[in-house]
């Protein structure tokens, strides 16, 4: 199964890819040794959004399903964690339970919503509209829950003020005190999860499942006539991608012990689309790297002006569609390859001419 980490569905299979990959991972692992506590916490913050991007890459890039619902599931995951963590007490194993249940909740909602849309033959732009509308409805609903009567058990939803006071993720640890996932431990947790999810998705995409997903994207009728139940594959893809968004939501809420409807509605709902479209949705690595770069840029700009940062995001989306529909990161990879390939072809042509001529 590990052989499937490399395959035709994902870019980068040779040593030219994996050596730099190992170097980057090594750098990420030693980063906390050199960086201050704030930077480490900030890096964990930037990285936790990448799961949502990878999920959208799976659903949209590989599955061909344009879902605007990533922040819907982000919200379900985040608010779900908050509600569960507050109600279950927030000690050790209960937060892990909260994490698991919140992600499952986003998966369950995705399964129901996806079932109605996919079995109802809703596709294309309409799928996008229904997922966007669902997202906006949730955001609107959460926005008007400010009153004290809006609570789930002990957890107040709190409208636009946001839900807070939930415990961060923690697990029982040696020596009595639980290990709280904040700061450096959270950073390592996020990096670890990223590695697992990234490699796991590579294996999934290069497996039988991944090939069918791509076939369904390209020609659903042909895929069905090759004996695949197209609807089941589309639903599975949608649920997995949505659960990854839920994971981002849980980690976000744990990171800041805080979540608001602003994470669900506009303009937040546009962000995953921008990251993934700009990076190049058709490849997992391009999306992962590109999304991180866009997130980092966005944060750097937001410090000065959030409006300017969001304006840039809009401009990037527009520029991508008009100039590089396959994504800028992928475009750059192709450019780099193009620089090397003509030289190889020239060399091959010369060799052939030398052999054949007389």
């Amino acid at each position: 199964m590990l052989k499937l980490i490399n395959g035709s569905q994902t870019l980068g299979a040779t040593r030219a890819f994996w050596l730099p990959f190992v170097a980057v991972v090594a750098a990420m692992l030693v980063y906390p040794v050199f960086a201050d506590a704030y930077s480490v916490g900030n890096m964990a913050y930037l990285l936790l959004w990448v799961f949502m991007a990878m999920g959208l890459c799976l659903v949209w890039g590989y599955g061909g399903i344009l879902s605007f619902g990533q922040t819907l599931f982000f919200g379900i995951g985040g608010y779900g964690y908050g509600v569960l963590a507050i109600n279950l007490g927030g000690e050790s194993a209960t937060t892990v339970l909260a994490l698991a249940l919140a992600i499952l909740a986003s998966g369950a909602v995705a399964a129901v919503l996806g079932y109605f849309m996919i079995w109802g033959r809703i596709g294309g732009v309409f799928f996008g509209i229904v997922t966007l509308s669902s997202t906006l409805v949730l955001a609107f609903f959460l926005g008007q829950t400010a009153g004290p009567e809006w609570r789930v058990g002990e957890a107040r939803l709190n409208g636009f003020n946001g839900m807070k006071d939930m415990a961060p993720l923690n697990v029982p640890w040696f020596g009595g005190e639980p290990l709280y996932f904040e700061g450096v431990p959270l950073y390592y947790l996020v990096v670890g999860l990223l590695l697992v999810v990234y490699l796991g998705l590579r294996i999934l995409l290069n497996s039988r499942f991944g090939h069918v997903v791509v076939a369904v994207r390209e020609d659903p009728q042909r895929a069905e006539l090759l004996g695949y139940d197209v609807r089941k594959y589309q639903l599975a893809t949608f649920v997995i991608g949505s659960m990854l968004a839920g994971l981002s939501g849980v980690l976000y809420t744990s990171w800041g012990q805080f979540i608001t409807p602003a994470s669900v509605g506009l303009p937040a709902a546009s962000m995953p689309i921008v990251w993934v479209a700009f990076s190049g949705r058709s490849d997992l690595t391009a999306t992962t790297v590109g999304s991180f770069l866009v997130l980092w840029t966005f944060q750097a700009l937001t410090v000065h002006s959030q409006q300017a940062a969001l304006l840039l995001m809009g401009a990037m989306l527009l520029a991508t569609v008009m100039l590089a529909p396959q994504g800028f990161v992928i475009g750059m990879v192709q450019l780099v390859r193009g620089v090397f390939a003509p030289r190889r072809r020239r060399e091959a042509a010369t060799a052939m001419a030398e052999e054949g001529g007389s």
């Binding site: 732009v125 669902s134 906006l136 689309i273 409006q307 008009m322």
Partner: protein, 288 residues
């Protein structure tokens, strides 16, 4: 008794007006070109801002509203010419491009104008029936919605542009082969759609707080109405408005705004499931 009935009818008319005015522009663009204009809310905002700006500058309300509508239409033609035109065979890409544009415009407006602009009051005027008092302006809005439907009908059925437009909607390449300037039809249609959006903004401006993000308040309703109505504006938008207004009014009365919105969302899912081409597709089939 009469007062209760009138009150319900009034609420229905209010929701119906909102749906029609919000959706008409989007329906034309979608029906004509298959483009989902995600910047639709921004054309609404444009109409509203121009109207309010002109009123603050001293113009009478009605004139300001007319100019607000016109401004949105002009901007629409410009947007079509620079962006949308290049993306006709790519419906998902035009959706994304207009979404990018929407972000640029709302954030740009926030940077330039700040988060809110001083509004203008709703024109005074109310009347009572029984124990209820109703605002006259909202009846004006209902009248405007009916007027919009009438105008669309007249334009598409009685003008030369309308004939060309309907031909293009049916089959653009054949229309072009018979001499219809398809590019111009598209540009004018998009402009018309943008103008109708601007008209919506201009008419609702006196009733709302002005914010650069105000377009978002119309998004769900306009999308839902267009999807339920289907691609044929003439046949689908009005029935969709009626059906959804009934659903919304009933649910609003029963559970409040949020139940109303969820109800609309469910209505969309059900309609797409049963009638994939919306009401207009279903009606067209029945009348064949």
């Amino acid at each position: 008794m009469f007062a209760e009935i009138f009150s319900f009818a009034y609420q229905f008319a209010d929701v119906f007006a909102f749906l029609i005015l919000a959706a008409a522009g989007l329906a034309i663009v979608f029906g004509m070109m298959g483009v989902i204009n995600m910047a639709h809310g921004e054309f609404i905002m444009c109409g509203a801002y121009v109207t309010v700006g002109l009123v603050h500058a001293g113009l009478p309300l009605v004139l300001a509203q007319a100019l607000g509508t016109l401004a949105a239409g002009v901007v629409g033609v410009a947007v079509e010419w620079t962006i949308v035109r290049k993306l006709y065979k790519r419906p998902l890409d035009s959706l994304l491009a207009t979404w990018g544009l929407s972000l640029i415009v709302t954030q740009g407006m926030l940077l330039i104008f700040g988060s809110s602009l001083a509004g203008i009051g709703t024109p005074q005027g109310s009347f009572s029936i029984g124990a209820y008092t109703f605002s006259t302006y909202r009846l004006v809005l209902f009248g405007c919605a009916l007027a919009v439907l009438a105008v669309i009908y007249l334009v598409f059925m009685r003008t030369r542009f309308g004939i060309h437009a309907r031909a293009t909607m049916q089959n653009a390449s054949i229309a072009q082969a018979t001499g219809v300037r398809v590019g111009r039809v598209y540009a004018l249609s998009f402009g018309l759609g943008a103008a109708l959006a601007g008209f919506c903004g201009a008419m609702y401006a006196p009733t709302m707080t002005l914010m650069p993000t105000m377009g978002a308040a119309f998004l769900i309703e306009s999308f839902v109405t267009v999807v339920v109505g289907g691609a044929n504006v003439l046949l689908g938008t009005a029935p969709a408005g009626v059906v959804l207004a009934v659903v919304r009014t009933a649910l609003n009365g029963w559970g409040g705004q949020i139940i109303g919105q969820i109800g609309m969302l469910l209505a969309v899912i059900v309609v797409i499931r049963l009638l994939p081409e919306g009401l207009s597709g279903w009606l067209a089939r029945r009348t064949r």
